[in-house]
Structure formats: structure tokens, C-alpha cells
């Protein structure tokens, strides 16, 4: 059985590999195989999987990609992820990808879909919209049509039909994936020292890169391995990270937060993994099932409208409560409209609930960690020096 270190090393390798060797090799195994890239925040990977394709998460270029051409497409006041994604495209690192989905997150990724259409005319490029109306007969019907359109496009690309049973099977696999992921998160909530946030982060990223069944095995191995290992407990504060749902922070930042005295007990890093909460029913019309899951049991995030004022921000408050967090860190990419416009509203809700919070911005290639450590450290200091709960933890 692999150790956590071995699993993490494998994940790190996948994370560092900007040539996407895994996906290339996966595809090369069978000429009928296709790869469909997708950007944050959410796409129904079940549908891609059911078409016999590999859904591949594209999270920009991270901290190591030197962006040379990307800046030719984006002004300085736009976040980093579109420019590094373009860099990946221009440098042919994505030349094996058959389709690209640009889900609705914000206008930047929305517009990137058009850019991609112009620049890579041979790729199946789609802007993927989800409804902002959550009534089954209004937004639901619209979404059913959208999913059917997407399904047709995928069928055309894959050259084969997607049967309801294909889709049901995929939903089943992803249900298992969701269940295991929740288990890892639950483990970290209980005993955060056993699952450092950088490890969990890499583990979750792997899920957006490799085949779902392989990831399920990886998750099982990890859960098993943590049981066997004993790791020292540190005198840290427990916090939830929010606002990092699209462009990802550099791994160093994630490590710095923990080093500065914070255990991350919940986050919104790779939301696609956890976008649908709980099981998607396998019986009945599978498209409808995906639609209903989206309408009624998906997470609250900045790019989704919240119809009732009273409900706004409650998801986060609940997250804090459930994870026993002592505070929230708002970590948002610079120039990220969704995260930054949402932030004041969420903060009001936290204030009402008496939850302390801090906020900072990052870019996927931020190099200076000193300010981050400083802020996270001060936050942890103040929780540790002053809160009654951590007294007991000593």
C-alpha cells in the first residue's frame, strides 16, 4: 500500500506537468479516445466521461509557467488564469485536446471561449452556461436543453452516441468520487494534522487530471495511508478558505498559510469535485437527474445567483459551523470580480455569525509569501492568544 508521501509525490508530478503527459498517454492508448479540457468552476464531467472522453481540468499555468505570449492577449488588470491558459494553448501544450469547455464563471472565461474559437478553429469549443433561475420549469427546462446540446456536441466529437446507461454508469462513478472526497475532507476536519492542506490540495487536483476510477482508488489509498501514519499535532488555528474557486493560489501560498499557524479545515479550491452535494440519483432520466442536482443541491459560489437575500452567504456560515472552524480566510485572485464583489456580502454574514475573518489577494504566480505569512500568522496569533477554545487544545 502506498504511503501518503508516495501518493503526494504522484499528485505533485501530475500537478507540475504542464505538458499533460498523463492525458496524452491516456489518449494514445486507444485511437477512439478523446480529451475534453474544461475551466473552472463547474462542468458535468459525467457527460464527458459517458462519451468515452477524459475530462481534463485546466487551471491556468500555475507558478512555474513563464508567460510570454499570454500578456499579448490580456491587459494588466485582468486576472492571470486566462493569460496562462492562452500560453498553454499558444505553446501547443494543449494540442492533443479535442474539445474545450468554458463554463460560466465570469466574463473573462466567457470571453475566453470566443478567443479560443478564433485561435483554435479545429477544436470543439463551447461556452457552457448554467441557469441562474432555479425553478424546474424555467431554469430547469433551459438547462435540460443546454445539456442535450452539449451531449450532441460531445457525441459528434466522439463519433458515438451517449446512451442513458452510459451516463448512469458515469454518474455512479462520480457519486463514488464525491463520497470519497467528502471522506477526505471529513478526515481533515477531524484531524487536520493528519492531512496537511497542501496534500489534500494536490490530491484533489489529481482528480481533475486523471480518470475517475483511478482517482477513486487513489482516494481510498490515501484514506488508508493516513490511518497508518502518525503525525505531530501543532498548535494551529482552524480556518476555512474561500474565494479561490477559479484561478488557483500557488502551492507555496497554501503551504505558507499552514506554516503560519493555520489548519485549513475546508476550502473551495477545486469546486468541480464538490459542486454537486451528495448523490445524484441513478434511476430515471439521467440528464434530468444532473439538472435537478444542480438546481437543488449544489454549492453556493459567487457565480451562482442566490434568489433570496436571506440565504446569501449561509452556505459559508454553515461550512464554518460544520467544520468547527475558528475563522475564515478570504483568499481571492487579484482582479477576480466574482470573488471580490461577493466578498463584502459574505463578510457581513460572518460578522452576524460572529466569525472572525481576514482577506487577501494572490495571483497564481505570486512569489512573495511574506505578506501572506504575516497576515495568516497574525490571524492565527490572535485566535491562539485570545480565543478560549485554543487554550484547551494546548
Amino acid at each position: 500500500m502506498p504511503s501518503t508521501a508516495e501518493i503526494t509525490a504522484r499528485c505533485q508530478e501530475l500537478y507540475d506537468d504542464l505538458d499533460f503527459t498523463y492525458a496524452r498517454e491516456w489518449k494514445a492508448k486507444d485511437p477512439s479516445r478523446k480529451v475534453v479540457g474544461f475551466l473552472p468552476v463547474y462542468v458535468p464531467r459525467e457527460l464527458i466521461h459517458a462519451a468515452g472522453a477524459l475530462p481534463l481540468g485546466i487551471y491556468g499555468g500555475g507558478e512555474s509557467l513563464e508567460v510570454i505570449h499570454g500578456d499579448a492577449y490580456y491587459q494588466s488588470y485582468i486576472c492571470r488564469i486566462p493569460r496562462s491558459t492562452i500560453e498553454l494553448g499558444v505553446t501547443k501544450r494543449l494540442d492533443f485536446v479535442d474539445g474545450m469547455l468554458f463554463p460560466f464563471v465570469c466574463d473573462v472565461i466567457r470571453n475566453l471561449s470566443g478567443l479560443w474559437k478564433v485561435m483554435f478553429p479545429d477544436v470543439m469549443v463551447r461556452f457552457f452556461d448554467t441557469p441562474q433561475n432555479f425553478k424546474a420549469g424555467v431554469g430547469g427546462d433551459y438547462y435540460v436543453h443546454e445539456l442535450n446540446e452539449l451531449k450532441e456536441a460531445l457525441e459528434k466529437m466522439a463519433g458515438r452516441p451517449i446512451s442513458d446507461d452510459d451516463l448512469r454508469n458515469s454518474i455512479k462513478l462520480y457519486n463514488e468520487n464525491r463520497r470519497l472526497i467528502e471522506e477526505v475532507y471529513a478526515l481533515r476536519m477531524r484531524e487536520p494534522w493528519k492531512a496537511p492542506s497542501s496534500e489534500v490540495y494536490l490530491l484533489m487536483r489529481a482528480g481533475t487530471i486523471i480518470d475517475v476510477e483511478e482517482h477513486n482508488q487513489m482516494l481510498r489509498d490515501y484514506l488508508e495511508a493516513t490511518k497508518a501514519e502518525d503525525r505531530p499535532i501543532r498548535d494551529n488555528a482552524r480556518i476555512v478558505i474561500t474565494g479561490s474557486f477559479c484561478e488557483q493560489p500557488p502551492l507555496n501560498l497554501i503551504k505558507s498559510i499552514e506554516m503560519a499557524g493555520c489548519y485549513v479545515v475546508d476550502d473551495d479550491y477545486h469546486l468541480v469535485n464538490r459542486f454537486l452535494v451528495g448523490e445524484v440519483p441513478v434511476e430515471g432520466d439521467p440528464i434530468r437527474s444532473l439538472v435537478d442536482a444542480f438546481l437543488t443541491s449544489s454549492v453556493e459560489t459567487a457565480s451562482k445567483y442566490v434568489p433570496e437575500e436571506a440565504d446569501k452567504g449561509q452556505f459559508l456560515v454553515e461550512q464554518v459551523r460544520r467544520s468547527g472552524a475558528e475563522g475564515v480566510i478570504f483568499a481571492a485572485p487579484s482582479f477576480c470580480d466574482p470573488a471580490l464583489l461577493d466578498r463584502p456580502m459574505l463578510q457581513h454574514r460572518l460578522k452576524e455569525a460572529d466569525v472572525p475573518y481576514i482577506a487577501f489577494k494572490y495571483a497564481e504566480n505570486s512569489g512573495q509569501m511574506q505578506p501572506i505569512r504575516e497576515q495568516a500568522g497574525t490571524f492565527a496569533d490572535s485566535i491562539k492568544l485570545w480565543s478560549e477554545t485554543s487554550e484547551a487544545a494546548e
Binding site: 465570469c106 466567457r110 471561449s113 445567483y305 466574482p338 464583489l341 489577494k361
Partner: protein, 430 residues
């Protein structure tokens, strides 16, 4: 804005009077009791709002007004002090800052709270957060109208059905409730007829810039021409009259071979450069910005900003009394920023060609991802298609901190000198 005021043409006076009247109506709600809806310029459903005898208050327009009056800088700072990020759209912050300052309308009276927020979610992500933020303050009913983005460059039946569905099941009931007035589709048809009439004249006016010299400036002047139709007046008799008046004036200038009037009261008839402009203008230094153009003899013959609140020329859309709700849906779908990038490239390239422009100038707005993300690629594509050079300047809408006059001037001058130098080197080819 201490420069002497130019002679006002009748259409200008009429517009001024219309705007003043509307602000007076808004601020005297106490007296007449008509309900107020707030909504956005793109996807502005003024006809529908009128059906319920409601008043329409557009926060973007308030932000523009505050920008022109140079009030917005302070308001933005106020909003930032309240915890809003420096990075986000300054329209939102100007609006929130205005609220903090007592929501004083340009006529000096306090603006009453809206009765309903009509979140016409068209072409811009920020709208959603903007009204979530306002909703938090006003605690008033808020109704979302989700207008899907034309990702593939065309509206689909599914999109149209979805919008009509929302109009029927969400928007109309919400407006009925807020106003206490029952929906009357025939009234809507009447209003839509007037919209279409005004739209015809607007398109005529915008197309007049194909003439040489152009009788209008389609950007700096254009923002005034679109005023009524993008705001609370589309569908009113006032708007119909305004555009008739405007058309006559332009017709006269056209006949006499005259150019547009600059704020300094001189006519720009010697037009050395014809430009197409993409992106909204800067409002805090609007006059200075404009001056940089006319001082060099540059006239804008077409612009995309004059299409944000409705696109009437490219594919000939008109509001249609025969299909009222469907045409409202089509109107929303067709707004400029709801179109995908390949379509926007096509629109701009056609403008450069049809208006015989010297090139495309992009005024990229820091605030506005909807407009700005992807503009550099658009510029290069338009250059490629038309063979005409493009230029790129960066400013902001209402944040004076992001308007660097020296920078803009430097870029504009370099660009125009470049066009000039090119022309001189190939006199035959030109």
C-alpha cells in the same frame, strides 16, 4: 468644465429637458406615488416598466452623471473604505458610494429607494453582484432575468424560450406586485411601436457618419444620441420626437457638408482621421478626452459603445409589436456585450470597412471585464481583416485615478502620426 458652453441645438435642449424631467419625477415620488424600478442599460426593459406605469432609474446612468460632474472619485473611495476591492468595476463602487452620500440625484434632491430591482442580467457578470449588493441595502424585491450569453454567436430558440418564460413567470408578476398595475399586452404593443420608430431614426443618424465629412461624431457625440433610447425614454413619445429632431439637424449638416460640433463650439469639418472606437469612454475627463481627438482632426465614425443598450444596425433588429415578449427577448440577447468575440470582431471589421475608417481604436476600460477581456486579440483580428492599423489605450469609466491624460495623449498622437506617415509613404495606394 469651465470652458464656454457651445451653442445648443434644439435636440440637445430637448434631451436636457427630458433628463431633468425624469430626475424630477424620480425624486418627487412622495407626491405622485409611482413605483420605481432600477435596472441596467444593457437589457433595459423600459417598455415593460412603462406598462406598469413605473419609473425607471438606471444606476449606470447615475454613475455616468457623477463621473461627468467629477463626483465619482470620492464615491469610489468611499465604497473602497467600506471594504470593496480596488479591483472591481467602478460603476458599482460609484453607485454604492453615492448611496453612502445620501443618494442625491443630479437635481440635488434625494433619490427615493427603488420598489423593485429588475436584475436584467445581460452581457455582464457584474450586474448580478451589483444588485445582490443593492438588495442587501434596500431589502427590496429583486427579480432576476437571466439572459444567456450568445456563446456560439447566435440566439437559439432555447434561449428565447427561457427568457420569455422568465418574463411571464418571474418578471411580470414581480412588476405587477411592485406597482399594483395589471399587465396589459396591448399597452406593451403600443409602446413597442414607438420604440421601433425611434430606433429607425437612430440608425439613420448613426449611418450618416458614412459621409465625408461625417456630420456626427459617433462616439463623443454618439453617447448623447443614444441617451434617450438606452435609458428611461425608449418607447416614449418624447423619444420619438427627439430622434426626429435629431435626424433633421443631422440631415441639414449633411446637406451643407458640415462636420459635428465640438464642445468649444467649433465645427470639426476638416476631418483628417476617421476612426472606429471600441469600448466605453472615460467620463471623468470626458471633455479632455474628446479634445485630444478633435484637436488632431480625428472624428469617430462608428463605435461599439453606442450598441451596448441595443444593437439596431448590425442585424437590423427592431422591437416588434407583433411579438412583444419575444422581441424583448431578442433585444436583450442582441446587446453588444452579450455577443461572442468572433461576432464582435465581425461587427468592428464591418464598421471599419463600411465607414471607410483609418483604423480601430480600442479604449480599454479597467473596470469592465465584459468589454475588455479579449480586446487585444480583437484588435489584431480586425487589423488582419481590414489591413488597417489598430491602437489600444487604457482608461477607466468613472475612476479618475485611472485616467492618465499624458499617457492617452501620447498613444493617440503616436497612433495618428503613424496613420499619417503611412499615408504619406503610399500616396498612390491610398
Amino acid at each position: 468644465m469651465s470652458a464656454k458652453e457651445a451653442v445648443k441645438e434644439p435636440s440637445m435642449l430637448k434631451q436636457k429637458e427630458m433628463i431633468a424631467r425624469n430626475y424630477d419625477l424620480l425624486t418627487s415620488k412622495q407626491e405622485h406615488g409611482r413605483a420605481i424600478a432600477s435596472t441596467f442599460v444593457p437589457g433595459n426593459l423600459n417598455e415593460l416598466i412603462m406598462c406598469f406605469d413605473m419609473l425607471n432609474n438606471l444606476p449606470e446612468i447615475n454613475a455616468i452623471q457623477n463621473g461627468l460632474r467629477r463626483q465619482s472619485g470620492g464615491m469610489i473611495m468611499d465604497a473602497e473604505k467600506q471594504g470593496h476591492s480596488e479591483d472591481v468595476c467602478t460603476y458599482v463602487k460609484a453607485d454604492i458610494g453615492m448611496m453612502a452620500k445620501g443618494n442625491i440625484a443630479p437635481n440635488g434632491k434625494p433619490m427615493p429607494n427603488p420598489d423593485v430591482l429588475l436584475l436584467s442580467y445581460t452581457g455582464c457578470f457584474t450586474f448580478m453582484k451589483w444588485f445582490e449588493l443593492l438588495r442587501e441595502q434596500y431589502k427590496c424585491p429583486t427579480v432576476m432575468l437571466h439572459v444567456p450569453y450568445e456563446g456560439d454567436g447566435k440566439p437559439t430558440k432555447n434561449m428565447r424560450d427561457y427568457i420569455v418564460r422568465q418574463l411571464k413567470e418571474e418578471v411580470i408578476p414581480a412588476l405587477e406586485k411592485a406597482s399594483g398595475v395589471k399587465f396589459d399586452i396591448d399597452k406593451l404593443r403600443e409602446i413597442l411601436k414607438r420604440s421601433a420608430a425611434a430606433e429607425d431614426n437612430l440608425v439613420w443618424v448613426l449611418n450618416s457618419a458614412k459621409a465625408k465629412p461625417s456630420p456626427i461624431d459617433s462616439y463623443f457625440g454618439g453617447v448623447y444620441y443614444i441617451g434617450p433610447i438606452f435609458t428611461a425614454f425608449r418607447g416614449t413619445q418624447d423619444a420619438v420626437e427627439y430622434y426626429e429632431l435629431l435626424r433633421k439637424e443631422v440631415q441639414q449638416r449633411l446637406d451643407e457638408g458640415r462636420g459635428p460640433m465640438t464642445p468649444e463650439g467649433v465645427e470639426l469639418t476638416e476631418q483628417k482621421y476617421r476612426l472606429v472606437v471600441e469600448g466605453p469612454p472615460n467620463w471623468t475627463s470626458f471633455r479632455d478626452f474628446w479634445k485630444m481627438f478633435y484637436d488632431e482632426g480625428a472624428v469617430v465614425v462608428a463605435s461599439s459603445y453606442t450598441k451596448v443598450g441595443g444593437m439596431y444596425d448590425y442585424d437590423g433588429f427592431r422591437h416588434d409589436p407583433e411579438n412583444p415578449l419575444e422581441s424583448l427577448a431578442d433585444y436583450c440577447l442582441g446587446c453588444y456585450t452579450n455577443r461572442n468575440l468572433p461576432t464582435r470582431i465581425d461587427i468592428l471589421a464591418k464598421y471599419v470597412e463600411e465607414f471607410e475608417a483609418d483604423g480601430l481604436l480600442i479604449n480599454s476600460i479597467k473596470s469592465c471585464n465584459s468589454f475588455s477581456a479579449g480586446q487585444l486579440m480583437m484588435m489584431r483580428e480586425v487589423e488582419k481583416r481590414t489591413g488597417k492599423p489598430g491602437a489600444f489605450i487604457e482608461t477607466d469609466l468613472v475612476d479618475p485615478r485611472y485616467f492618465s491624460a499624458a499617457n492617452v495623449k501620447n498613444r493617440l498622437e503616436s497612433y495618428l502620426q503613424m496613420i499619417d506617415q503611412k499615408r504619406r509613404s503610399k500616396p498612390a495606394a491610398a
